[in-house]
Every structure is written in structure tokens, then in C-alpha cells.
Symmetry: D2
Subunit: 325 residues, 4 copies
């Protein structure tokens, strides 16, 4: 994978194929299908070879591609929520009585990192009602609790420590983590949802989350839902130069000095170049859409809807929304 | 104490004295002094008699009265922060290396209940720096972490469960809890800060926090800082009728039917009356100042300042504020 | 009306009837009807006698009573929006091509005074599209513009000055003003919508708006929509004492000194008494529900929905909501 | 200037010099000096030649460069406010009794475009006090009013219409406009303040403001204060390719095919190329720092401070801040 990282399995496989000029990835299975208007891609990393090739742990990664228009249409949001809930199904086995803990990762002070906390605020919270006033609530409603613990810089505590402590006291059967991710490509920003059963790996997204949240570290199944919400300015710079070089190559005479020089620029050389020319200036810059606040609200609503539908199969989305309100 | 409750020891003693027409309270010591422009009252509950009389656990309760004007003057806010830090001193014994966890109780969605979360966002967070990049930070700086866990209705988890779980993993030496309190009197709203070493008792404030946070339940010292930010509409109604009855009594002929009738209205009768006439209408109404958002910001800044000064005695308030910023 | 004022015509008539122990009010017509689950009251002040009796200018005042439950159910909100749009119909004559200016009065920094600004943010704004890119928008869509000018204390300018200046430049055919009102009774808070064609009178609501916005001062028809969102703490105190006095009277022997004394307490005496006992303490206190933020959001959504339906009869509410989003 | 535009005179002159490989610009005078830790550049466009060369109207453009560190230090913010107030002095002639209107341009829903509205909320508003309760306020205090009218897409009205209407009614003697600007260079973002007496030209910043606000259109002096808060993603892409091409040129043999090809890429060709490769992807993307919310707060505080000091020379900044609070 080199030094350029992506949180998206779908990008990892694209990058592997491109770098190695192959069509198949060892130890990996990829299935594509449509669910309504959405394209869904299921990447399965089967073994060590797959882990090595993809730079990601064994398990399932399901990606939903949504057209940007969904953020401007309420019915489309509901449709994506339903697609998401169907995509979650093969990844979690849920008895009716199992308690779920939804964890919203990320920093609520940084808009594109706030998806996790925003989702948590729209989850249908029922665990306390089931415990304290069970008669007030239908039997088939699942106990659900949720927390947005904040990031290391705001709390002084590793998110992993906090969540492990809470799990030991409250004993949920399942954790669903929601986080903002980093993407390599501007065209994926706010248009891709990834669901996986492999936990959340460290170092992702806008902020810094350092301790893995996974079945291995927490002892219960962990479902991770993520959406890329920014591209690093450095990544954009890199993509730009790639595209321009490709264009120059197309226009160059094959075999010429120019052609060879351009062809010889390895990804790592380019990155080094990027660093030289951009680092002092670009610092901690990120690329986001101008209407980022509105779009992050939309993404959060979609994901919360998907989680609520999954966790409360006996209720309609309308009932859920009235409850939350 | 009857059915009317107060979170403030200073009110509990007033109510005891009034009800029993005495000047001294058994098992209780009260000292008043001035610190600059502020009146400070130190109520010490010494034994079981004191606990019974006051309806509060044994320990120290220090109350700072501040003029409402402090919320409109930045220098005054700093002065109250300093008075608060001096009031905290006799209640916590702090070695330099001890780690403190600041817990902001209350619901960030309800302005007058949001003091805890707002204070947390202004605490100087250093624990992660001391652990991860110790060279980046002066040796005499204390490790501090903080969290605002949210309320039961938002998380589905008892705050006590959450905080105990976090403490077991992160092992702080001291907890400082900050919360909005309920007062009996509109004149105390946002003008009184209470510091105590007895933990936070259940059922206080605007929201509902049900599990005691105290040295007994958490195993480490707990300092509680609270400010009354609302009066229940029902309490205001009750106060009103009291004042009017007093006025009527003054104007009535002593010994007359009227005089006797008024004198005979016991506190509990009146409360029953209040319930009859008000309950269906007043429901969950609260009384707040019109500029409640601004005032809650001011109160939070004052308390955060006091905590920061206490926890980082080697730093000036200016250094602290630049760090937080 | 004496010194106790109300913004609601429906309360003004109740107070007149009570004070004068009559069933009919001179120069006034009152009709009640149901529209779905809502009770609608149409008060018509016909002449000078009516103006004098009611303390309000000649014209129509339509009041919608909604159960508090509507704020917790999205479908109910839509239903009230539709009832509101039907109540507006007799009060505005709207040619298709007429341009409407929606004015959101009140202070966005004070939650219960923020209804006007919150409504403005949810109005379907089309005037600029009709002017600049007419091909992008259906012909039957009405040009609508909107502004929340802020209050005197925030801008240093009378709202009336600001709005008159804007109207002279932008030449709308109609103004719709939205504002938070004051009510006498806690049971009406956030449960009553008043629509009138008489403009907005000075001094209403939580903040201070001093210059009348009406057809007389602005030269074009003015529709005012208001919702009581707070009760003054002083008003609550007054109501309380009234209810208690009534209760005492019931229990007193008719003809006794006590009975006479209670009966003799005139409304104005009581108010004076209120002032004496409460003023120094109650200051600028208001009574609101604890979940005031959520409820103000709901009220704003309902009113914006009603205005949008009225102004864009060719569109469904769903289309409108997608447009706004 | 070609098709790449900048709001900053300091960038316009850099671009002119670079493009024309000259050191002097016709009809333009440039002076640099230091004020404390800040570099100040005063660009004077003297005549038509200067206007043509710079693509900006005749007048004064004063630029303050601040180190990024000021946003993390309260004292530094105050220092920049003072430098700003000194930079404003030569551009406005202010009798003591003149009324100033501060206009905050931009869209409060888009963080990097919200500087104008955020500044307005921190201006010391006095006009209404001078008019309504003159005894409550010192004589030497200047009448100041302010408004953030919102953007075309939110109001449906041109900002120019709205402001002209308000000025005709409220008759201020001077307008100070505050706006977010666009910069060509990421290193200037949030580090440069430009003050000018030429009004605000259309099309600037993150949003779209289309009608010139200037002495010519408003009839009273207009001072414009702007800060670049974003760089277009397309601009970053363009800058990137420029830097890389420069690097490639350095490494190419002079006179070679490669060298010539690179040298021949005109700015406009490159821009066309950028459009081709980026447009479908980059759309409305912008580049901002990750802590944009905090930094925009800081920038707003600095500018509001500078304006307040300028307009109220008889008061200390501390008095002003207490007043605003």
C-alpha cells in the first residue's frame, strides 16, 4: 500500500489493481450488485494473502455508493437508510433481546468529523426504558444505548479505554461504531458508506483515534460504519498531478525523453515531490464541499436511519422518527 | 425536610431554622467569611444529628454568593474563579502528580442543565500529553482528563455506570463533578456556587441523574461543584403564595378569624394546594432569566476557571486560557 | 384592559367577559369551528366599541388551538401546517404573481423569542430565482423573499425602520410577520397560533419590538402570525395568587371579614402586591417548558410549513421541503 | 488579470509583476512598514493605468499580515485589533458625532463565509441608546448600528438593495463592510486582513454577493474589511501543478523538447487543463484548515475588536468587551 492510506476497502483494491496491473487480488473476493438505485460492493478479505494485499484485516467490507443528489431529497435519504440496513444484515446476527451500544467516534467541534456524534443524537435510545419502566415500551423493542465519547484531545483519554470501561459496566452484546473516514478521491466524499465487521483501525478520518475498536479488543462483535467526509489537501494535490501527468503522457510522443521522464515518476517520487512543494503551506488543510454543514447533517440522518431500522425491525421508520423527536 | 427539596446546604439550614424557629442546628457548624467582594459560607455537617436535620450527608459544603453583575464583567468572572479555587483548597488534598477527572453532568440540549458539559469543554486537558508526549509539557503540569457523559435519556445508561467504567480503566486519583442544581429561591439562581466533598446526591437539577457519584461509590475522593440555574415553576408558585400570605397576615388583625386561618396554613397544606391548582397547567415548566444562554456561558467560564486554577497551580490563568483556546 | 396585557385576542375577550361578567362583547363577533383535530376561533373586531373593549385594532384574529402532542409527532405537525394555511386564506387575497416578504421578528439569541428567525430559515425563497434564472423555476411558483432583521438591542435600529427601507427597495405586495407572543396563561404556551390582518402591535413577546408593522405604516397588507412561547414569571405569580384566592374564597364563610377582604382584592391591587413582593427578585424571569429548544423548533416548522403551503399552492409540502433542504 | 481573480490587492500586484516580469506597476504606489510584530502593506491605486493593471478600482488597500499563531493567543489577538484600528485611521475621517453602520456580509450557515455575521454580533451597538436613553450613555460614545443581512440565496433579495433601503431610513454617515474573501494562496488563508476605501466588488468570497457596496452606489463613505478564509479547490490544484511544473523545468535540460513543452504551458492553458481534469470531481470544493470553526471565531474577534477601537476611541478595549458581553 505504500505510505498512502485509505480507510475504504473499495479504494484499497483499486489501488492494488492499478499498482500491480492485475484484475484479481489474492485472498480477496469482490461481488457487486444493485439495491434499488444504489450500487453495493461486497469485498471479502479471506486470508493472510488478502490482508497483505489490501492492508486491512480479514472480514467483510460492504460499500454503498449513493448519488450526491440523495442529500437534497428526503425520500432518497430514507431509501439509502433502508439499503444500509439491508447491507448490515449479513454482518450482524441479532437475537431480539440483544442489547446494542452505538458509539459515535470523532470530534463534534470539527464539522466533517462530527458524523459519529451526530448519528448518536438520532439513535432510538431504549435500554433505560426497558430496565426502568418496561411496561412503557413494547416487548419486541430492542434495548439500545449510545455514547459519543469525544476524541483524545478533548478528553485526555483514549477512546478505547473509555469504551472498554463502559462496556464492562453496561454489558451490551454488540457495538456499532460510526466514524468519519478519509478517502483518496474527492468523488467519494460524502457519497460512499462502508460497513464492516472488522472493527475500526487506528489513525483514520479527520481527527486521531488511536486504539482499535474490534471484537478482538472489546470481546463482543463490532460493526463499523464509516463515510469519507474529507480529502486531505495533500491528497488532492497528489491526485491533481497524477491526472495532469496522464494528460501530458497522452500528448507526448511515445519513446521521447519527455515520455520516459513522465513514465518514470513513481508514486513514491511524486509523493516526495508533493511533500517538498506543499508541506510548509498546506499544513493541516482539508478539502470539503462548501455546504459541508448541510451534507454532514444529511449523512448523519441516513446512517442513524439505517441503524435504527436494523435494530428495531418491529417498528416503521416513521414510528422511530416520532420516538426520537 | 418534608417534600420540598433543595440541593443547597445553605438553603437546607435556612429551611430548618425557619421551620423549627431555632438559631442553631444540631450536629452542624456554620462559618461565614468574606473573600474579596464575595460572601462565603462554610456549612459543616458533623454527625448523624446533622445529617438528619439537614437531609444531607456528613461533610463540608462551601457556598459562594456572587452579585449578578459578575456575569456582565470579565474581570469579576476571573475574581470569582479565584475565590472558587481558594474555596476548593480545604476540600481536596492534591499531590502534584495526582490525576484529576472532571465530569460534566447534565444535558447539553437543555440550556440551564448544560453547565457541566460547558465546563468540561473549557478544562485544560493534559493527561494524554503527559502520557504520549511528556517532553512537550512542563513537568509540574498535572494530568487532567474530562468527560461529559450525557444524561440517562440520551445514552440509555446510568451516568454512574459510565463514570465507574471509565474510572476503572483510566485510574484517576480524584473526580471533580460539575452539575446544575435546583434552588428554592429565584434570588439564588445563577448567583450561588456550592462546593462539597460529599458527592452528588440523586435527583438534582433540571434533568434526572439517579446514581450517587461519591467516594463511597467510586472509591476515590469526589468534589462536587454545583450552581442552581433554575427554579421549578411550582416552587415559584409556592414562594409567591408564601409572600402574599405573609403580607396578608401583616395587614390582618391579630386574633381574627382571617389571621388564624392564614397562620394555620402549614407548608405541607400549601404545597398540596399548589399541586391542586397548578399541576395540570404548570407541568414541566421552569423559571429562568431571559438571557439564560449568556448567563450559563458566564457561569461555566467561572467554574472552569476555578477548576483550572486549582488543578494547575503552577500556571497563570492567562496561560491556561491560551492553552485551552 | 388595565395594565395586564395580552397579545392574544382570544385572551382579551376572555378577560373582558370575566371582568365585566358578560357573555357578549360590544363590536365584536366570535365564531368557533373545528378543522380536523384543531379548534379554530375567529374573533372579528368590528368597530370602535370593539377596539375599546378588546384593546386591539379592528380586524380579524384567528386562533388555532393545538394539543401539546403535535410537537412530538411529525404527521401532526404537517396537519397543523395545513390548518394554518387554511386559516390564512380568508385574511390574504393573493394573485399568483404577487411577491411576498416574510419577516421573522425576535431575537435569535433567546430561544423562546427565536420563532421568527427560525421560521424565516425554513421559508421557500424564490424571488431571486424568478428574477435571475426564471427558466430554472416553474411559472406558477410565487416570488418569495424573507429576512430576520434582528432586534433593536442587537442592531441599534428600529425593526420598523429596517423593514420599511427594505420594502421601498424590493417592492413586495404583501408582508407576513412572524413573532413570539406573550400569553397570560401557561396552558396556552406553544399551543396556540394566532393569525391576524391587523399588523403587529408594539411591545410584545420576550424582546422589545417598538414600531408597529401594519398596512397603515408599511402601505401594503400585513399578515401577522404569532405564538405565545413564554409567560412572564410575574404573570405566573399573579395567576397563582388568583387561583389560591379563589380556593380560599370557596372555603370561607360568605359574609365573613375574610370573605369580604378576599373579594375586595381587585386585579389591580393584586398586581401592585405582586410588584411589591416579587419585583426585586423576579426581575426578568420567564417561565418556559424544560424542553423549550425542541418545542420552539417544532413550532417554527409548523408555521413555516403553513406559510409555504399558503404561498405556493401549486406545490406539495414534500416538494417544498425538498426545495428548502 | 486573465480569468484568475483575487480579492487581495497585494496578490493582484504580485500576479502582475510575475506575469509581466517587472518590479514596478504603472499607476500604483506600494509602501511596506511594520507595526509591532505585523507587516503592513499599503497599496495605492492612483489612476486608470493602475486600475487596468491591478483589475481593481482606484483607492487605498492596506494589508496586515499576521502570523497564524495569533489565533492561539488572546493577547496577540488584541494586538492585531489595535494594528487594524491604526490601519483604518488614514482611510476614514470620523467626526465624533458621525453614526456608523457595520454590515456583516456572507452566509452564517457556511463557517468560512460567516466572518461578517460573526463580527456584527461583537460590535458595540449604541445608536438606539443615544436616541432613546441618551442619559444612560457617555456623550463621547459614537452611535453605531449593525446588521448581517444574509445572502441572496437565503433572503431572495440582493444585499445591495437591502442595505440601500436601510441606509435611506437610518441615515448613517459611514458604512463598514466586513466580508470573507477568496485568496489565490493557501498561505494567506486566515493570515491576512485587507482594509480598503473602494467598497466591496462583486463575486467575492465563498458565497455570491453581486451588487457593489461602495460610496458610488450608497452615497456615503464605505470602508471594506476582508479576510481570505478559503482557497478554491481548483485554485489549489492550479497552484500545485505550477509548483510541480517549475520543479520539472528546473530538472529539464534547457532547450530540450520537454523544457520547451513545459515552458509553453501558459497560465490559461493550465487553467483549461485544470477544468478538464478536475471540474466534474472538484465541483464546489473548498480548502480550509481542519480547525476552521475555532479560527473563524478568532478572526471575527480580531476584526470586531479593531472596528470597536476605531469607532469608540474614548473607551478601552476592556470597557468595550464588558459592554458587548
Amino acid at each position: 500500500m505504500g505510505s498512502i492510506r485509505t480507510d475504504l476497502a473499495i479504494e484499497a483494491q483499486e489501488m492494488y489493481k492499478e499498482k500491480n496491473s492485475v484484475e484479481e487480488i489474492p485472498g480477496t473476493e469482490v461481488k457487486e450488485y444493485r439495491d434499488g438505485a444504489m450500487k453495493v460492493t461486497h469485498v471479502k478479505i479471506l486470508d493472510n494473502d488478502g490482508e497483505l494485499a489490501m492492508g486491512k484485516p480479514k472480514g467483510d467490507y460492504i460499500t454503498i455508493d449513493m448519488p450526491i443528489i440523495v442529500h437534497y431529497d428526503n425520500d432518497s435519504k430514507e431509501e439509502v437508510s433502508r439499503v444500509l440496513s439491508r447491507a448490515m444484515k449479513p454482518l450482524i446476527k441479532l437475537d431480539e433481546s440483544m442489547t446494542a451500544l452505538v458509539v459515535g467516534l470523532g470530534n463534534w467541534n470539527i464539522t466533517p468529523d462530527a458524523i459519529g456524534p451526530k448519528v448518536v443524537s438520532q439513535i432510538m435510545i431504549t435500554r433505560h426504558l426497558k430496565q426502568l419502566v418496561p411496561d412503557s415500551i413494547d416487548e419486541e423493542i430492542r434495548p439500545v444505548c449510545a455514547i459519543a465519547p469525544g476524541v483524545l484531545g478533548l478528553t485526555g483519554m483514549e477512546t478505547g479505554e473509555v469504551i472498554r470501561g463502559i462496556i464492562e459496566k453496561t454489558k451490551p452484546d454488540l457495538v456499532i461504531c460510526v466514524d468519519a473516514l478519509a478517502s483518496r478521491k474527492t468523488e467519494r466524499v460524502n457519497r460512499t458508506i462502508q460497513v464492516s465487521n472488522t472493527g475500526i483501525s487506528p489513525g483514520a478520518g479527520v481527527g486521531n483515534k488511536r486504539m482499535e475498536l474490534s471484537e478482538r479488543t472489546l470481546g463482543i462483535p463490532v460493526l463499523a460504519i464509516g463515510v469519507p467526509t474529507v480529502v486531505d489537501a495533500a491528497t488532492l494535490a497528489n491526485d491533481t498531478i497524477d491526472l495532469v501527468l496522464e494528460d501530458l503522457i497522452k500528448n507526448a510522443t511515445e519513446g521521447s525523453e519527455f515520455y520516459k521522464m513522465l513514465k518514470e515518476m513513481e508514486s513514491s517520487d511524486k509523493e516526495q515531490l508533493m511533500k517538498e512543494v506543499l508541506d510548509p503551506k498546506v499544513g493541516d488543510l482539508m478539502v470539503t464541499p462548501k455546504d459541508v454543514d448541510m451534507i454532514i447533517d444529511s449523512v448523519s440522518k441516513i446512517i442513524a436511519g439505517g441503524i435504527n431500522i436494523s435494530l428495531q425491525p418491529s417498528l416503521s421508520l416513521e414510528d422511530i422518527n416520532n420516538f426520537i423527536n
